[in-house]
Symmetry: D3
Subunit: 249 residues, 6 copies
């Protein structure tokens, strides 16, 4: 790979600076304020004993997610969806993606009849908000599960988490595949892909979209390579943030 430097000085295969402030929220059972460069997402996990009525009695739990952006998280102010009276298509789509991604690493039987709702609120947006949301949500999820174990809502030796999960964006800009696109890069990308992968390196979601020209198989392959390297790094950062496993006060 030639040494193309990006506008913020990164090499094509560099992540932005990633920070994970575990336990940021005093109210939630689990939480993390995660930053991917200028993108900041507050992820909270709300644990409730019991499941929605239509799931009762099956011995299985439920994990769902809601994603939203603050109106001035972006460069120019957006109208609030609550004021418009409807949730937009993009919001719905990302909420569903985050929920599916988390459920892929949860053993619902082991979770038991409990519900976890993950809220991912974008406080500041600079590209990659959905991937930051998934990566931070996993940290909040772990803490909510540990909280429930302490409260005896989950059995001491149950293992509701079968793997970890993280996500990153990749894209092709001026013919070069690049990792973790900032907003200025995202709008220029010919192809944009979001990859959700587990700690073991398996795919949970692969969503590639040709924004400009359609892409070929070789380009797809190089993007997947780059993404799996990125999610491996993010997995390591998640594990670091989760040390020690028991959250401090």
């Amino acid at each position: 790979m030639t040494e193309t430097l990006r506008s913020d000085g990164r090499r094509p295969d560099d992540l932005r600076e990633i920070t994970i402030e575990r336990g940021w929220s005093a109210q939630a059972e689990g939480s993390a304020l995660i930053s991917f460069g200028g993108t900041k997402v507050l992820c909270t996990a709300s644990f409730t004993n019991g499941v929605p009525r239509w799931m009762t009695g099956k011995g299985k739990g439920w994990v769902t997610a809601e994603y939203a952006m603050l109106p001035r998280s972006t460069n120019s102010r957006m109208d609030r969806e609550s004021v418009k009276g409807r949730v937009g298509g993009r919001t719905h789509e990302i909420s569903r993606l985050v929920g599916r991604s988390l459920r892929a690493v949860v053993d619902m039987k082991a979770l038991g009849e409990n519900t976890i709702v993950i809220d991912c609120d974008v406080l500041q947006a600079d590209g990659g908000t959905r991937t930051a949301a998934i990566t931070g949500a996993y940290v909040a999820l772990v803490d909510a599960i540990e909280w429930a174990r302490e409260k005896k809502f989950i059995a001491q030796k149950a293992k509701p988490l079968i793997d970890s999960v993280a996500a990153v964006s990749v894209g092709i800009i001026d013919g070069t595949p690049m990792l973790d696109l900032a907003y200025v890069e995202d709008v220029r990308a010919e192809t944009d892909m979001n990859v959700v992968a587990t700690g073991r390196g398996l795919f949970v979601e692969v969503q590639g979209t040709a924004e400009g020209a359609p892409f070929d198989r070789r380009e797809l392959d190089s993007l997947l390579d780059l993404a799996l390297a990125g999610t491996a790094s993010l997995t390591a950062m998640q594990q670091a943030a989760l040390q020690p496993t028991v959250r401090e006060g």
Copy 2:
């Protein structure tokens, strides 16, 4: 590939019976009633001279799409979104996918300041409704553009279409990659992928989701192979349906 036969007698790499009734609707500028087996989608293209106000004066056109299901297109009746007062997340997501897929093969400059709205209404659903919608929508789009050319809304030698587009679902069932999943297969699939590709074999969208266990790189590759073979067949059927180019009456 071993000779696993599917519940409807197909081999893993067989499409279902595909039919395309071009010009089904007497009202629309372009239309097609497309069937992928038991899935039937009515696609209409509505051409309007002019673009939304925020696009005026840029010399470019706009193509958008709306997808919806009739309440009893499915095995048990769903509530109407109009009655519920809001469009669901899945509907939004698919509408956006269909729109992006069509825009990927349209040269907006060549379209000029004109708008085409594609409606894809599922009359009967048996898996693969979004892929049938995209494949049928392309046929309706071609006819709407030809209609506009005859009406002189588009220049005689303009080429708004830079390629064709078709879509198909693939999935892994009991470890075997299979093409064009029917509903009973879809619910059993461990991994489900929708691939949108152009007539030249380039990718427009790749959306793979682990419904059960996460999938690895090898599985991803075999699904992509299967999907590209499927979209190539669909491309041929689209071309056949569009002969002769000038729609009869």
Copy 3:
């Protein structure tokens, strides 16, 4: 009546070409795709064992209907009601009319605690959509009831249907009463009337509206004569479509 020929060559007391494709939908318990000339309505009947909570324990059933138009069923595209977030007044009004018309021929005691929802979706509109909807809905209703009888949800000798029901529009154009108005006629009519009648020739609904000048008693009488002749013909076509009573696969 003088021999005024209409724009499509019909005499004043002619119906348009009527077709009824019984069992069009593979999913519904009863269905019919009905055409009144260029008007095409897909009617499906969804049978559910049980009634809404507020009706439970009274030993009576419930029949209701929803009417809607596809956005491009009309000559120029309409916005979807699901996207606008509210059902329009005309839609509501026709849904209520269809429901009342069907309930007029159902013995709710004989139906037992079962619910039938009829969906009438206009695929193509060329005048008379509500009357086509009612006429087709009756066919779908019969099949849903027979389906339920086979499934033993309704007793073998119960007779939930006490009569049949059909509907037609009539109007006065240039002083001449005419039957079954096409769209181009409908917009020119001074008076417009929809009549719903049973197979025995009794009225279920009479809705006459002066679109231009108010009308007198003599005009009203001639419209009613014309309408009853029309519904008698439609009744015969319904009976033909329903032969044999047991639907073929």
Copy 4:
């Protein structure tokens, strides 16, 4: 007609006590508080110079109406439609009926490019709210037009009103046709009809519905006779309420 006395002592062809308080509202250009027995409807007419944008430049006016019920106008409280976030089907249907009925007696050319919105708010409901609304709305409409004439928004010698309009309900109870049904009668009626007629005795709307058994031609005729007698009486009361034509301050 045999001398069947009704629960409130009326004969079958009696109206309830009708009162019309013209000019009840100090704010509106025209208004009337009308009572049909226990039914009380406040009708206001709001005159605006100009028409909606889509009608501009055609030299014609517009008249529309909105009907609504106060939540405790009825015997048990209903939820507010504003709180439910949507206007119900019945409300829509009646609003449309009131608007059509008034437009039938207005010469839109003579009205000029002006808009009149009639609001009919049911303060107390005891059957026949839509017919009281239409009858009272006409009085409010006359005053709004006279107000506009004084303000020179309408030419001195223009005649926007080509006739008057009134409405009444009729129904068959225990086989006897009855005029102007109170609520307790309405729920028992086998057939229910609302008739809107002009001062000259012509029909504007005829809406008959079989609530129980379908009805025959002879029953329809007797109901129409009764209704026309009722609207003739109401017309006389409207004229009395409108004397003198110029409203007192």
Copy 5:
């Protein structure tokens, strides 16, 4: 206080003409049509045995209120909130204020598991609609409680009302504090305050807002003096309207 006369001839500390028509509505358990000069509000109290599910089993009742304006209660017509599909901020705010004000004088234990909903519908608006609503709502509330006592839903010797409640607006216009502002005064007021007080002269709500320049402590004090004199007068009028305690027919 200097003898500044107001546009309607009142002195600064005069209320407008107040009328209370108790029992105006034939349907509600309690009702009052109250006028503060040109402001007319219809207040109805709907009594229901039982409380919302989330309150069941606590032996306590619930009182809530909804405030709304008719579209032409004001000088120019407002769009209906039901048609807009959402309740506006001002409406919500006043509904909440009315509910809190009434609850302040109700002993929920003595009310028992019963619910009272107060509807305050502004028929004509000329300033002070929220204060008229609270003052009239109290009268409706008393009658609904007495109705329930007669029906034995409330024990014979229970005392659900611990005090009475009334409200009035005050404001500073051209430096002079004034009582009970009419609309033309309200728009000119530099400071606007609504005071809700009990019959014993205690405060339930004090809501003062600087519309123009912020106000000082001395101005606040003079407004409170004026308001308490006003609510004392209103309390006397409420007591008079409620004589005799048992409502006539």
Copy 6:
């Protein structure tokens, strides 16, 4: 005042720990993350050149505000208002209060035809969210105005701010007036008051509510004393946070 210590060790007239992180958001023209103890509110000010159409040409600006809570800012998760499809009454009420409070210190002529929207999003709630929102919003407002002055949208010597504004809650608990209530105190307070005051000590809003027993004039006076002392302290902290006037980077 006796030395009653509060659950968190404060004396009755102590504020909680207040922090103001000016410029927290990289995107907004002005911003502050403010904490009142466990209450954290992110305030952003969005400056737009121009005003809404209905205000154009009057030479005056506009300032408005929107308040909202993240779903898990509270102890148990609330449903999102965007998902419910409507903004609740409390949210509306507080948004309106924040907007009015800020407008009280802005000279709209000096602001010129420019719009400032303040968003106050509660990230964590522990009582006093509306008072923290107002206090933080003022800081964001100052910076947005300075930003606009640098960009020449506001004249160099214009003085759009005529005073500063801050807010605090006070309440009576067990008979003792207390300043700046935390959530656990708020739910126990007999009387709850929010006071918005300017830097010069004048009132902008006084909103006192009897949550339990109504309150008397002496209690009202002691609450006002306490509140003015509190807003004076907050004013000093705002001024400190705003040093130096020109925001760093």
